[in-house]
Symmetry: C2
Subunit: 462 residues, 2 copies
C-alpha cells in the first residue's frame, strides 16, 4: 500500500486485540464481544481487560491495558463514555494504533456533553495518530482474517467474499449480514462507522480501494458532514473498483431522523443523487437491491450494450424478466438470423422461439437446451443473458447439464440466473454457477433489475 | 353454495381421482403426477389408468377409465393431445365431472391443428357439463383437502393457508410455491389455468369468493379473452374478498410473447390497470410483492387512514421504512401529547423519541420497549404500525416480550414487522406473530411497501 495505513491495518488485520470492558456476564456487551472474537475463530492474541476478573471464557484477563505483557494492535472498547478519554491515553502509552469504540453516548445524544466528549476523544486520537471506528457502533468484521470485532457473534456466520459494506447504521449492517446468510453472499468487511469521529466514508473507501480482499464497495448512508472529501476520492480513484450506495433520507421524516441518529443532516437527497452520479457511485433503492447488485458487481463482467436475451424454462417468469428489462431501458432484440435458425432447429414449433425464448417444451431434451444457450451466448446481437428456470421434476437434470455448459463455456457477457427450487434441490448447481461468476437470484424480476443496474453502472463509468 | 359448482367441486374436492396416462417411468409426466398424489397424502381413492400396467407405485392400475369399478370425480390427463377428445368421451360415459388436462399441444402451438383440437375438446366438455383446468397446465393443488393434481410433487410441501393463487403461467405458480416455502406462507389453492378452454379467471374468482378456505385471491395474468366477464364478477361480488393481481405485459416484448404463450394478446397494459382499479382489484408489480401483499391481506386488518408509526430497534432500518412509506403516500405524523410524554418517560434522551422511534437504547429494558409499543398502539393519531428489529445478542429477550405483548393486546390496526435474525433464532416468535395476524417481512422496505398496499387497497375499496 502506498499510503500510510498503519492505523487502519491495526484495526482490520491486528495480531493482538484487547477488549477493554470484557465481561462474562451475558447482560453486558463486553461478553458478546468476547464471544464474537472467540467463536469467530480470531487467529491472533486476545487480551480481555477487566480489573475484577482473573479470566474470562478461560482467557487470562488483565486489570489494565498497561499490564498486558505484549504488544496490542487494536483495542475494542465497551466501557461507559466518560471513561473513554482516559482509555485513549492508555492506548497511546501502549502504542495501540487502532480502536473500535462501541460505546454510545457521544455526539448522538441530546445532552451537549456528548458532543464535547466526542470532540475531546477525536482530538486525542488524531494527536496520537490513532484511528477510531465509532463511537456508537456495533463494531466491524473482517471475514478474511477473520476477526469479528462486534457485539454480534453471529456475524461470523457470514461467508468470506469480495463485498465490503460500510454503513452508517448498525441495524442496516445486521440486516445485510442476515440477508447474506440467507442468500449465501460472501463479504470481505462489514463496518459500522457510527459517529465517525476520525474514520469516515472517504477514508474507508480509499482504504478499501487498496484492499486486495475487497472487489466491490457497498455503502449505506444517511448523511455525511464532508461529502466533498468522499466525492474527491471517488472521482480520482473510484474507477479502480465498483462503488454503490443505498442512501436513505429521501423523505422528510427520514431526513429529520438522520440528524438525531448520527448527528448529521441527511441533506437534500437530490444533491447526493447527482453527486453520486457525477462521480460514478451507483445508487440503489433498497437493502435487497444493494445486496443483489453488489453480488453481481463482485462476480460478473459488465454488459457492452443494452441488448438482452431472456431464456426461460417457462414463459411466465421470462415475461416478468422482460418487463423489468424493457421498462428500465434495456432492449430484448431479435437474434441474428443464424441464431434464430439454430433455435428453430432445436425447439419444436409449440415453443416461443424468438427472444424471449421459452425452452419449456425442450425440458426432456437436455441437448436442445444446451444448444440453445450455447448459440445465444455467442450471438453478436446479444450483450447479456437472463436465464430463468423454475424447478419441476422434468427439468432437474436439464439444469445440471446447463450448469456445466455455463461454467465450461465462458463468454465475456454477464449471465444472470433465476434458478428457483425448494431448498436442497439445486443448491450445488447454484453454488457452482455463482463460483463461476454467474449470480443467481430468487425471482426473475430481481435478476432482471440487477442486470439493469450493471448496465447503468457501465454507462455511468463510460 | 348457491351456484351449481358440481364440476369445479369435483376438481378441487374429489373423492376419487383417475390418472389417465399414469406411469412408473420417471421420464414421464404420468409418474410425477402419481407421486404428487401419493406423496401429497391425497386422502381419496387413486386409480392409475395405463393399459400396459398391472400396478403403479403399488396401486392397482386399470387399462381404461371404464374398467374402474367405482365412481371417479376427477380425471388428470397426461396423454398426447390427439387422444384427448376420445378420453373426454370416456369421462362423460364414466360421469366424471372434472378434468385437469396437463397435456400441451393445443391453442398455444403454431400449428393450426392445435387450435382446432382445443375447440373440439371445449365443445365436448361444455356439452357434457365437464369443467377442464387446462390444457397446457402444470395442474393444481388444494392444500386443504389435500390434493396435489400436478406434475410437481414438491407443491405438497407448501403450507395450508388462506391465499388462493390463480395463474396463467405454470412457471409463475412454481415460483410462488417455492417463495412460499422460503417465507412459510400458507396457500389454499394454486391453480394453473393454462389455455383456459372452459375455466377462466372469471369463473375461478367467482368460485373462490364462495370457497370458505380462501381468504384472499391472488392472480397472475398475461392477458385474457373476456376481461369484461371477470370485471363484472369482481364489480358485483369482489367486495366479499380481497383480490389482487400481478399482470405482466407492461413492455412491448412481453406483450408479444404472451400471445404465443397462452394464445391471448396481453393487450394494452394501461387498460387492464384502469379496469382493475375501477373494479377494486389491487395491482402489484412483482412476484414477491404479490406474495407479501397477499400474506398481509390474509392476516391483518386494513388501516383506517394513512398515519403510520415506525418503531425500530435500530435507527437505520426505521429510516428505510419511513422512506418507503412517505414516498408512497403514507404519513409519519407526530404522536398525541400523551403518547409523546410516555415515550419520553420510557426512553433515555439519547434515543430518537419522536415518530419514527428508535428503541435501540432501551434494548436491555424489555419493560420500556413493551411500554412504548403499548402506548403507540393506542395512539389516536396512528392508524398502523411498522416495527423493525434486527437481531443482536442484547435484544433477543426483548423480542420475546414484545411478541407476547403484540399477541395479547389486540388492536384493530395493522401491524407489520421486520424481525430479522439468522435462521433458528426468532423462528418461534415470528411464527406466533404471523399466527396472530401480524405478518413479518425480510426487510423494512418490504414491510413498509406492503403497508402501502394495504392502504391503497382500503382506499380503492372505500
Amino acid at each position: 500500500m502506498q499510503k500510510n495505513w498503519v492505523a487502519l491495518d491495526a484495526i482490520f488485520n491486528p495480531k493482538a486485540v484487547a477488549v477493554i470492558g470484557a465481561s462474562d456476564n451475558p447482560g453486558k456487551l463486553g461478553s458478546h464481544v468476547m464471544r464474537s472474537l472467540t467463536e469467530g475463530r480470531y487467529p491472533g492474541l486476545i487480551y480481555p481487560v477487566n480489573p475484577g476478573k482473573e479470566e474470562i471464557l478461560g482467557i487470562k484477563t488483565y486489570p489494565t491495558l498497561s499490564r498486558i505483557p505484549d504488544a496490542v494492535d487494536l483495542s475494542i472498547i465497551v466501557l461507559p463514555a466518560d471513561q473513554v478519554p482516559k482509555i485513549i491515553m492508555e492506548c497511546q502509552e501502549k502504542r495501540v494504533r487502532g480502536i473500535v469504540l462501541i460505546t454510545a453516548g457521544f455526539k448522538e445524544i441530546e445532552d451537549k456533553r456528548g458532543e464535547r466528549l466526542q470532540r475531546e476523544i477525536t482530538e486525542l486520537a488524531s494527536q496520537f495518530g490513532i484511528k477510531i471506528i465509532g463511537p456508537n457502533t456495533f463494531g466491524m468484521v473482517n471475514l478474511h482474517l477473520p476477526i469479528n470485532a462486534s457485539f454480534t457473534p453471529e456475524f461470523s456466520l457470514v461467508e468470506k467474499g469480495g463485498i465490503s459494506f460500510i454503513s452508517q447504521s448498525g441495524g442496516m449492517s445486521h440486516l445485510m449480514g442476515f440477508l447474506s446468510l440467507q442468500y449465501k453472499v460472501g463479504f470481505s468487511k462489514i463496518v459500522g462507522l457510527g459517529n465517525r469521529c476520525n474514520v469516515d466514508f472517504a477514508e474507508m473507501v480509499e482504504y478499501l480501494i487498496e484492499d486486495s480482499q475487497t472487489k466491490v464497495i457497498a455503502l449505506y448512508m444517511e448523511g455525511i458532514d464532508h461529502p466533498k472529501k468522499l466525492m474527491e476520492i471517488v472521482r480520482t480513484r473510484g474507477r479502480e473498483k465498483p462503488i454503490l450506495a443505498y442512501k436513505v433520507g429521501r423523505s422528510h421524516t427520514s431526513d429529520r431522523a438522520s440528524q438525531f441518529h448520527t448527528g448529521s443532516l441527511a441533506g437534500k437527497h437530490e444533491i447526493y443523487e447527482s453527486a453520486f452520479r457525477q462521480t460514478g457511485i451507483l445508487t440503489v433503492g433498497s437493502s435487497e437491491e444493494l445486496l443483489d447488485t453488489a453480488k453481481a458487481l463482485s462476480r460478473c463482467s459488465l454488459p457492452n450494450g443494452n441488448r438482452v436475451a431472456v431464456l426461460s424454462g417457462q414463459a411466465g417468469p421470462g415475461m416478468a424478466a422482460c418487463d423489468v428489462c424493457e421498462m428500465e431501458g434495456l432492449s430484448i432484440p431479435p437474434f441474428t438470423p443464424n441464431t434464430q435458425k439454430r433455435v428453430e432447429e432445436l425447439l419444436p414449433p409449440l415453443a416461443i422461439r424468438t427472444n424471449p425464448v421459452d425452452m419449456g417444451p425442450a425440458w426432456y431434451d437436455s441437448e436442445a437446451i444446451k444448444g440453445i444457450v450455447h448459440t445465444v451466448m455467442d450471438d453478436g446481437n446479444i450483450d447479456a443473458l437472463v436465464i430463468c428456470i423454475m424447478f419441476a421434476s422434468a427439468n432437474r437434470s436439464a439444469v445440471r447439464i446447463l450448469t456445466d455448459l455455463l461454467i465450461e463455456k465462458r463468454v465475456n457477457k454477464p449471465i444472470l440466473c433465476c434458478f428457483s427450487a425448494p431448498a436442497g434441490i439445486w443448491d450445488n448447481e447454484i453454488k457452482q454457477l455463482e463460483g463461476a461468476g454467474i449470480p443467481n437470484y430468487p425471482t426473475p424480476e430481481r435478476a432482471a433489475k440487477t442486470l439493469v443496474n450493471l448496465f447503468r453502472f457501465k454507462k455511468m463509468r463510460k
